[in-house]
């Protein structure tokens, strides 16, 4: 069965520090991969997505993610975190056949001054 794992429930980083949020998936073929961000009380906003091609994808707000097939991972990175990046981050996998979509349990990011 398909699944998405975000191993880190909560991460705290200092403003200006680099960030990496981990995401691993379980699926037989290469899925579509997504990262979303959710600010408190809001819906989910798409940060970036990977369908095929270049394994390093750029997104909004200075985020990027790298697809590593050998590790079944799609980790989200940002070189320098801003206080406004504090939010919940969700990794998701889209499976084309069957039109299914699977979300991870989310990683909560706290940014300290």
């Amino acid at each position: 069965a398909q699944s998405v794992t975000q191993p880190d429930i909560h991460i705290t980083v200092s403003e200006g520090a680099s960030l990496e949020l981990r995401c691993n998936y379980s699926y037989g073929a290469t899925p579509y991969l997504f990262w979303y961000v959710q600010s408190p009380g809001q819906g989910l906003q798409l940060l970036l997505k990977y369908f095929s091609g270049d394994t390093l994808v750029q997104g909004i707000k200075g985020f990027e993610a790298e697809f590593k097939r050998s590790q079944s991972s799609f980790n989200l990175r940002k070189p320098s975190v801003h206080w406004s990046d504090a939010a919940e981050y969700f990794c998701a996998v889209g499976v084309y056949a069957g039109n299914q979509f699977y979300f991870g349990t989310g990683t909560s990011l706290t940014v300290i001054p």
């Binding site: 579509y32 997504f34 979303y36 009380g41 809001q42 819906g43 989910l44 906003q45 798409l46 997505k49 369908f51 919940e88 969700f90 998701a92 889209g94 084309y96 039109n99 979509f101 979300f103 991870g104 349990t105 989310g106 909560s108």
Partner: protein, 113 residues
Amino acid sequence: EADIYQTPRYLVIGTGKKITLECSQTMGHDKMYWYQQDPGMELHLIHYSYGVNSTEKGDLSSESTVSRIRTEHFPLTLESARPSHTSQYLCASSEEASGNTIYFGEGSWLTVV
């Protein structure tokens, strides 16, 4: 930016009341979804639709019902609200042309007292 709208954003109602959460999208997407999310928790798919007159139950059992009479409209109804229904409800839509990228509304916060 996706055009998907939810009303009301916030609602407090009494136990036993009937409520309908509205969701509309202007993108012409065939697929629509309802997710339920408690604060700081993961998303649970409760309903989805592949198109007009199509409705399916999601992974999480819900006492709510949905309808899809028009492509752009996917309302969710609770016939008799209970305090256990207190949660955030997120509407979303997607289409195959965008690789099944899911776009979310801002969410509806429901509190049943």
